[in-house]
Symmetry: C2
Subunit: 342 residues, 2 copies
């Protein structure tokens, strides 16, 4: 047979990770955890993060950091982990069958903040990197969940991430913003989790998800939309992920500072506790990372650090018409073009 | 071909449901809801259940009843539903492939109580009946979740149900008790949800689950243990389910009455709210009914009525040694032979 290789293989070779890819990404993930924790301690001004280091029997480990009962943060958790093993879980192999039978490596940083003041939004961030035999990919994002909606806060959050995206490619923001809206959606409530932000997964610079026989239509569809800007190199994607990670403090801290001293009473606190229930429902019913972790013997306390310190459920609650609570549902829990808000 | 039918078919025919099976079971399920609500209103002495009737677009409906902020019940929900449609969901068809392509009918009553006083246990009950073409089955049970453990309460609850079981068959209690222990188990916490009770599913009097190529090993294993007492008739099983349902008030009310006036402070309340988190985790991560309902467009508010009105999560909480809280974990959150407690 003559050796005419299909173009895809050549392209894949040209974007192989560098020899020190794992060290570079895990070092960045640790730095990101450090940087975010320092920035949040400065914001809180009262409490510090407490760290637990843990090891995973099958390989690797992590460091979990929690700040409890702060002046601004009722609870904040920032996890770093770096794990390896013989087989990726079935839920991921379904998406990346080329990784079957390969050892894997995964590293990432994730964070959820539950502020005390109902006017300060809850926020989530996660960036992760996988290698498994011939395949590798980056995933992640950040999304904001206000209890009381402010257009200027939503606009600031989205514009910060749009600027990061636009530095790398004009198509990133529109695609990853819609992917976020679609991912953080509670089907059983027919509600968005919050005002969104960015979300992406399986970014390998090859658009493999829409070229292969993959099952996750959401990821495949969004990867297809990015098809015309492929291929991207490992270095380009890593640089993008680093810029996203470093954008968190400027995206969130000004919002928290603007709202942290707003006065509130039982009404606002009750509404916040009620809305936190949606966060629990999303994380336990839909979130891939949470479900995967719980079902595969992850460190439960680190995985469930994302759950709020206090939560309320109320049968058949409906906000009164023409209140800020009703406005949250009508305006902020539906996808909006926040970057163009004015 | 000569018409030699396999014996299984003959046996199946002999236990066909009567012509009015649906009416009789749904009427019982409604009566059970009425009876339980009346008994609980009497126990509470302060608040009454409020009812919402609802209809399901695809066929059927239900009536949801909630009692909020009572003297004893911080929240209690009792649902009746009767639904029908063209196809059972895939999760059930996996267990009963004979029902493929058949219209289905399902009716049931379910209940969860969240008492205010941490010395009064949370309790759950559910009984259900399915028909789909050639197959039919009963399922259900009841289980108790104390915050502070008392041997006499656990023994009373189990003995009440054991007496009901023994009236029908000596093998019911030992099998359905262990099935309950296994079903209400939080793998990610390596904890039982509470002190158990009874649980059974796919009871068709034929032991079909262990004779067929079924996937649910838990149900198949327990059905196999019952194999030597098969076949049972529809009437026998319906009579057993009725007796179980009617045993709830005598199983629970004396416990609630015994504990309702026990004094408690912030410590006990905090522990109760923390432990309620496990109820949320079980219902959203593992419970078949909840997950099925949420994923198939059920009435969300009725499904999630089981979630507690107020819940706490605390990172890395551990009870102090030699406290009642530690005793709960050490003694009550592990399967025990409560019927023989002394």
């Amino acid at each position: 047979m003559t050796a005419i290789k299909p173009q895809k293989t050549d392209t894949a070779k040209s974007s192989n990770p560098p020899a020190d890819s794992k060290e570079r990404v895990s070092q960045f993930m640790k730095q990101l955890q450090d940087e975010i924790c320092l920035g949040l301690e400065e914001l809180d001004g009262q409490e510090k993060f407490q760290e637990d280091s843990w090891e995973r029997e099958e390989g690797g480990g992590g460091r979990s950091r929690v700040l409890k009962e702060g002046a601004i943060l009722e609870q904040g958790g920032v996890n770093f982990s770096e794990v390896w093993g013989e087989n990726l879980p079935p839920s991921i192999l379904k998406q990346r069958p080329e990784a079957e039978g390969q050892g894997f490596y995964a590293t990432g940083t994730s964070m959820v903040l539950h502020p005390r003041n109902p006017y300060v939004p809850t926020v989530h961030l996660n960036y992760r990197y996988f290698e498994a035999g011939p395949v590798w990919w980056f995933g992640g994002g950040a999304d904001l969940t206000p209890y009381y909606g402010f257009g200027e806060d939503a606009a600031h959050f989205h514009r910060t991430y749009k600027a990061v995206c636009d530095k790398h490619h004009q198509e990133y923001y529109p695609v990853f913003k819609r992917w976020c809206d679609e991912y953080f959606y509670l089907k059983h409530r027919q509600e968005s989790r919050g005002i969104g932000g960015l979300f992406f997964d399986y970014q390998d610079g090859q658009g493999s998800l829409y070229r292969g026989p993959y099952k996750d239509s959401l990821a495949a569809n969004y990867s297809k939309e990015l098809g015309d800007i492929e291929p991207r190199t490992w270095e380009e994607l890593f640089s993008f992920v680093q810029d996203c990670g470093r954008a968190f403090l400027p995206a969130y801290v000004p919002i928290a500072q603007r709202r942290k001293d707003t006065e509130y009473g039982d009404r606002e606190r009750d509404f916040q506790l009620y809305r936190r229930g949606r966060y629990v429902e999303f994380n336990l019913v839909y979130d891939r990372g949470t479900i995967f972790g719980l079902q595969t013997n992850g460190r439960t306390e680190s995985i469930l650090m994302s759950l709020p310190p206090l939560v309320r459920w109320e049968y058949c609650y409906q906000p009164e018409p023409n209140t800020p609570e009703a406005e949250l549902y009508e305006t902020f829990l539906k996808p909006q073009d926040w970057a163009n808000w004015h």
